[in-house]
Subunit: 232 residues, 2 copies
DNA sequence: TGGTTGACTTGACAGTTATCAATCGAGGCT
DNA sequence: AGCCTCGATTGATAACTGTCAAGTCAACCA
């Protein structure tokens, strides 16, 4: 058990409340590996052998059907992904690939399930994480079904602005083609959507966004904590 | 504590593994109530005071934003809804209303959280249920983002057929306007989508559907267990 | 430096979906 | 029967979104 990496994991909400002994047992069979960019980590339909923890870099969760594909989420450090599949011992519903060079910890799913059964603190943390993920998925569904693509983009920009610190100018941390996929549109339409937000004060220069009139954009976007607040 | 109703609840996966003592404590503050049709049970944004269990009838989970609204799910006996909000002590993300006369059990959320902390069997069941709900939400997102409305309808019909027993002819258990909302389209387009499936052997007569050529429909719908199988 | 690559953008067009208005038809009521 | 209501359907039209093709631009590299 190489220690590197596991100290960072220990600090995660998911692992913070468990006993030292159980944590040691959990990481005994685990390992940390560094992957280059654009590497497929898991494919949808695979059995969920490992719980993955992103320590650095970033991971794209996506899915394919009938020749089409769509990005569903981005995982950034430090957090886990595909916990639900691990818990249910069910196949992954999404594929995962690195977006950039990334350090990933892999914890055998059977160990997660075994420790879950004997460590109440761990079980409680898993419940909290699952409930949060569940709610995030519902919010995403509401975003998709209740908003037009222009509204989704406007609200995404407001969320991203907040994540980036709140300044009027900030960086998109997304390749635009992937942002388009996450927002449920084509890259061409994302381009047009950015232009469609110009009347509300949005300026785009490469990956840098400038919100010229915060109030004007918010009046159009109508952000709602029950859709856009990632913490609730 | 009126006993009526609680015996049915006890048989649910969610409550089956907990101790008698804890179950008694859980239902001590709970009550069962019968509601007429079209009654709002909870509104999105409300604090999650109760975990709801549908004993009979059916409940529509929906959400509104900026003058639009959409149905997200239907809850049928016997199952719970809005467990994630209860667990996280967070506001409801969806509103709920009865579709027909329904018996609902209401269990105070704080009791759920308290028993969850002391009963391992209950905690495990909650985790299983949350993970399942989480995965269902992901599947729904994939359905929305990867399929056209015609494909969503075709796959819905195949799922409903299976739920109804597998016969070529079966009942829609949905008002069509609500089905349209669930599938993310307007009632007008649902009408047209049904006609669009006629070439694949679909006949509609009121609420009764006939699948004339199973293979033809499946060839078009391309059902996928990672989207359409509710059990995985 | 010139060429190549790949992401992004733009325009033209086609396909899909929403909207609005009108009509149909079943069920309930007087 | 006649009337009313409400959901479902249909047609016409507008809005939106996807597709295809072409062009721009910056980064990279020999």
């Amino acid at each position: 058990m190489p220690d590197s990496g596991f100290r960072e994991i220990r600090g995660l909400d998911l692992f913070a409340q468990m006993t030292d002994q159980n944590f040691a047992a959990l990481v005994r069979g685990a390992y940390v590996q560094t992957f280059p960019a654009q590497i497929d980590l898991v494919a949808e339909g695979d059995p969920s052998d490992f719980l993955h923890v992103v320590l650095s870099g970033s991971v794209d969760l996506y899915s394919c059907w009938n020749g089409r594909d769509t990005s569903l989420a981005t995982v950034r450090p430090i957090s886990t992904f595909i916990l639900a599949a691990t818990i249910r011992d069910a196949p992954y519903l999404m594929s995962a690939r690195t977006l950039e060079k990334s350090r990933i910890a892999l914890i055998p799913s059977q160990d997660v399930r075994a420790i879950f059964d004997i460590d109440g603190g761990f079980a409680r943390a898993i419940v909290a994480e699952l409930a949060q993920g569940y709610r995030a998925a519902i919010k995403s569904q509401k975003d998709l079904k209740l908003r037009t693509s222009l509204e989704r983009l406007a609200n995404f920009l407001l969320r991203q602005q907040k994540r980036a610190g709140g300044d009027a100018s900030f960086e998109l941390e997304f390749e635009k083609r992937r942002l388009a996929s996450v927002l449920g549109m084509t890259p061409e339409n994302l381009s047009r959507a950015f232009k469609g937000l110009q009347p509300y004060g949005i300026t785009v220069e490469g990956n840098r966004i400038l919100i010229g009139d915060q109030e004007d954009l918010e009046r159009f976007a109508k952000p709602n904590p029950l859709i856009d607040d990632p913490t609730s």
